[in-house]
Structure formats: C-alpha cells, structure tokens
C-alpha cells in the first residue's frame, strides 16, 4: 500500500515534467526550468539532511561548486570525458564531505551552522585563490567547458538540456523517495526527533549523519557538474555563502521534511526573481518581502502551507502542529 502511494504522485510529476516542453517553447523559460531542475537536485539532498536528519548545512554551495569546478577543470584542463569528470567530482566531493562531516556533525545547532558556514567560505576562498587551477576570481577561462554527450545525443539545445537535467532529476528523485520510505529514512527521521533515543534503538547516529551528509554532498556535486555543462562557465561567485543561504532558504520555504517541498522551494526561488525582473531595482525589496511573508504566515513552507490549507478546507483540526514540526 505504501508503494502505490509514493508512485502515484511520482507518475503525475513525471507526466508534467515530460509534457512541460510542449507548452514552454521559449528557450529562456526552458533555461529557467533547467535551472530549477539543477537546484532541485541540490535542495533534495539538503532536504534529506535538514528535513529528515535534522542537521543543517550552511556550506552546501561549496559542494555544488566542487562538482562544477571538478567538471570544468577535468574536462577543460585534463580533457577527460564529461561523464568521467562528473563521477570524479562526486567522488572528490564525497571524500571532502566525509572528511569535514565526521568532526562537524558532532556539533549541534548554531555551532554546526557556523562550522558548515566556515567550511563553505574556505572552499570559496580556495576557488578564488588557486588561480592556476581554478582561474581565480575571473572564473575558469582556460578552456570552454564542453557539451555533454548522452549516448549519441549532444546536450546542447535548451530542450535537450531540459530533458537531460530533469531525466537525471527524476531518476534521483525516485531513488530518494525509496530511501525515505525505508529503514534508512526511518533511521534519519529518528535522529531528527531524538538522537539519544535513536541511539538507544541501535541506530548508529554518527554514521547515519555523516552518511546523509555525504549523500547530500554527492547530489550537490552532481548538480554542480550539470550546472557546469549547462552554463559552460564557472566562477566563484555563484558558489559563495549567499548561495548556501539561498539553498537553505529554498528548503525551508518549500517546506522541510518533504522532498516535494524541496522541489517546490527551488522552483519558487528560481522563478520568482526571474518573474520579478520586471521590477528591476525593486526586486530586492519585493523578494525580501515575499520571503518574510512566507516565513511569517506559512512557517511550514509552501508545502506545509498547502497541507494546512487542505486541512482547513477539510475542517480537520489539530494538525497544525504537524505541519510545523515536519
């Protein structure tokens, strides 16, 4: 019974994703959707870490950047195949995540936030300072990042990028849904609820926390590689602290504790600024105001919000708390 229930929304979502390009033909809009896909990948991982395991990372843009730079450098400087570079990027990221995560995840609350924030800043400074390797502040300009080739199609046009990115996203989404509804997902949620009790039940919490940290790092790295091959230019700016904060914001705005929320949050925070382009300078005000509004009135995020709305319509009281806790 559980199985059917995770597959139905998935199937609906799949249909929407597949059919969207029939309505959205403009390359700009498609491009925005490609970015939604890329960012959803990161927020999905972050949602696993934050919403399920209850840990926070203010340094996730660093993993995102590591994937992007790994792809750029390995394909550009070393002439590797993009796929190999992507894999290597994920491997490197996993190692770094393990190395950083093992001591960091012993910390809690604001201390963990500071540790991950510090880590993110250090990685960003590395991108800036290692001019010979990364191209430094001007970005990676030694070679143009190649297009990626999937079997025999070169992913070049917006439409092919769209299907490529969302195809990967759909696969990862399915795997993620499986993880959530499994022994591992339960273990993660138990950590969120009460770490001591989780350990008392035999859950090796330290190992799971580091595990999920690594996994979310890998998601971010994969997204970074996709970003690098899509934009075909990497510079340190989009992988800085503000981006990390933005990623966390996406997860929270979307609604913690739900993978769908993570996707919704990424979609909102990518599409919103694009939609606000019209307002030019004022977009910073409107953006801030909308964010504040969401947090003030929908503390459960969009997803928690829709949940609450539905419950209000159905007049089932008493679940407000649930939306908040989730």
């Amino acid at each position: 019974m559980m199985k059917r229930n995770i597959y139905i929304p998935y199937a609906v979502f799949l249909m929407i994703v597949l059919l969207a390009p029939m309505f959205v033909k403009n390359p700009y809009y498609l491009g925005v959707l490609v970015q939604v896909g890329i960012f959803s990948l990161v927020t999905m991982g972050l949602s696993l870490l934050m919403g399920y395991a209850g840990q926070i990372s203010l340094g996730h843009a660093a993993f995102f950047g590591m994937g992007a730079y790994a792809s750029a450098i390995l394909t550009g400087t070393c002439h590797w195949s993009p796929w190999l570079a992507m894999g290597a990027g994920m491997l490197i990221t996993a190692c770094v995540a393990w190395f950083v995560g093992t001591p960091s995840l012993k910390l809690k609350g604001h201390y963990l936030a500071m540790a991950t924030l510090g880590f993110g800043l250090i990685v960003n400074i590395f991108f800036l300072a290692e001019v010979d390797l990364t191209g430094g502040p001007s970005g990676y300009t030694f070679a143009r990042i190649p297009h990626i080739t999937f079997i025999k199609w070169t992913i070049k046009s917006e439409t092919s990028s769209y299907y490529f990115v969302w195809g990967i996203l759909l696969v990862i989404l399915l795997l993620t849904l499986h993880i959530i509804h499994s022994r591992v997902g339960r273990a993660l949620r138990s950590i969120h609820a009460d770490e001591e009790a989780a350990r008392a039940m035999g859950v090796n919490t330290a190992q799971y926390k580091v595990g999920i940290f690594i996994l979310s790092g890998i998601y971010a790295s994969l997204a970074g590689s996709l970003y690098a091959h899509y934009i075909r230019f990497v510079a340190p700016d989009p992988f800085g602290l503000m981006e990390s904060v933005l990623l966390v914001t996406m997860v929270i705005v979307g609604g913690m504790g739900s993978i769908w929320g993570a996707i919704a949050g990424a979609a909102l925070l990518i599409i919103l600024p694009e939609a606000l382009r019209f307002f030019q300078d004022y977009n910073i005000l409107i953006y801030g105001a909308i964010l504040l509004f969401i947090m003030l009135f929908l503390p459960g995020g969009i997803f928690g919000g829709s949940q609450m709305l539905w419950l209000l319509i159905r007049k089932i009281p008493g679940r407000r708390q649930e939306a908040k806790d989730g």
């Binding site: 960091s104 012993k106 924030l117 590395f126 953006y287 801030g288 003030l296 503390p299």
Partner: protein, 282 residues
Amino acid sequence: MGSIYALAALGFNIIYNATGIINFAQGEFVMLGAMLMAYFAAVLKLPLLLAFIVVVLLVACVGLILERGCIHPLKNPSILVLVMITIAASILLKGVTMFIAGKEVHGMEYFSGENTVVDMGGAKVPTQTFWILGVLGVVVCGLVIFFNLTLAGKAMRACAFDRTAASLMGIPTKRMVMFSFFLSAAIGGMAGAVIVPISMADYQSGAMFGIKGFGAAVFGGLGNNFGAVSAGLILGILEALTAGYLSSHYKDALPLAVLLLVLFVKPSGLFGSEAAGRLKKF
C-alpha cells in the same frame, strides 16, 4: 577590526541569550549605523557626539521595529523559521537602505581629524583605532554593570537562563526579548558608527560584519559575552597576521580554519561551557 567583530558578536549574544535566535540581521545593524553616521556627520555636519547618539537611537529603533513587526507576532515559531525571518529582514533592510542612501560608498573623517595617527613604538596607529577600542571598552563595562547591577539586566539574565521559569517569576519575557533587540541593535549601531571613518560603508557591507560577528560569537562560545569579546579580538588579530605574514589570499580562510579546529576539539567554543551551550535544536 577585531573590536568591531567583538561588538557584533556581543550583539549576537544578547539576542541569543534572550531568545535563542541567531539574528542574521545583526550585520545589517552595523551597516545601518555606519551609513547613518556617515550621513549625519559628513552630510548634515552634526556635531560628532550628537550624531553618534542619534545614530545609535535610530538603529536601536530599527531593532525594535524588527522585533515588533517580525518576531513578536509569531506565537510558537521554530528556531529555524526565526533564523529565516531574520535573513529575510536583512534582505529588506539592505533593500531599503539601497533606495534611501543609494549604491555608493559612504565615508567620513576620523573623529579626531583626518588621518591623524599616533606613533607607538614605530608602528603608526590611526587615532580612530582608539575610538573603537574606547567604545568597545565602554560597551563592555556598560554591559557588565547592566547585567550585574540593574534589575532589568538581572531579569534579562534570568530569561537567558530559563525562559519559562523567568516568566513564572513575573518577568515580562516578551518585553525582555524586545529589549534585547533594542540593545543589540544599539550596539550594532555603535559599532557601525565608529568603524565608518576607517572602512567606509555601502548598503552591502552588512553581510561581512554579520558573518565575522557570528564567527566570533560561536568561537567564544555562544551566549558568553567575555568569550565574544576575546574571540572577536583574536579573530581580528589572526586576520591581520595572516594577511601580513602568510598569504593575503587566505586572510579570511585561516581564521576560519582555526575556528573550525577549535570547534572540532571543543564543540562549545573557546570559552563556552557545555552546560551553558544550551544547544538549541533546529
């Protein structure tokens, strides 16, 4: 520089103690202080002291409005939501400042005359440094007196210790939260006002003060004011040393790395005791 981090860290601590929130708009208070000071002193040419007082009061009021408008209405918010709200608020503050003050950089003369320096054993120290140290000293003394000798200060400490118990004892915790925002905004404003002659400011400088201040607050152990001041100074000195002797590329990275190492070894910061850490869950 370290003194400014110390002041920002103090601001973080005061709000953290009262509410358990990390106020990410703290850096914005510093920025506001700097911008307003530049405006009052350099453009309106108000006397220094008057300008300083007006600036501090204004920033403190912004802190109040922030608390009234964004934090107060929430009934039972989670920490993470509060943190996000302060981030959203800081974006708004930044935006408003951009519209009012424009995108340019603002600066002003040193309090005691342009570019005056004091020769100290060969090293030339700008006079403004003493102003900053002085303000830090006054703020620290003031806080010590406030928290230890006045009723309101004791009440705030009680809130920090146990909010429920404090409210049962008849301390108006809500008002204390409001006051903590007022106080930390005022301190942020002071920091901004004294730093602006040295570093100048534009509408985006808040983030940097925020991060460094947060770093110092954590480094010293959250909620520990003595730790915040020492950690702020240590971070400032570390930064200067790295830039001067090692590599200016990694000027910001090394103090951070030291901070991380300290956290790994002593998870509650340099001067924080584990019990006082009162770890808040997200």
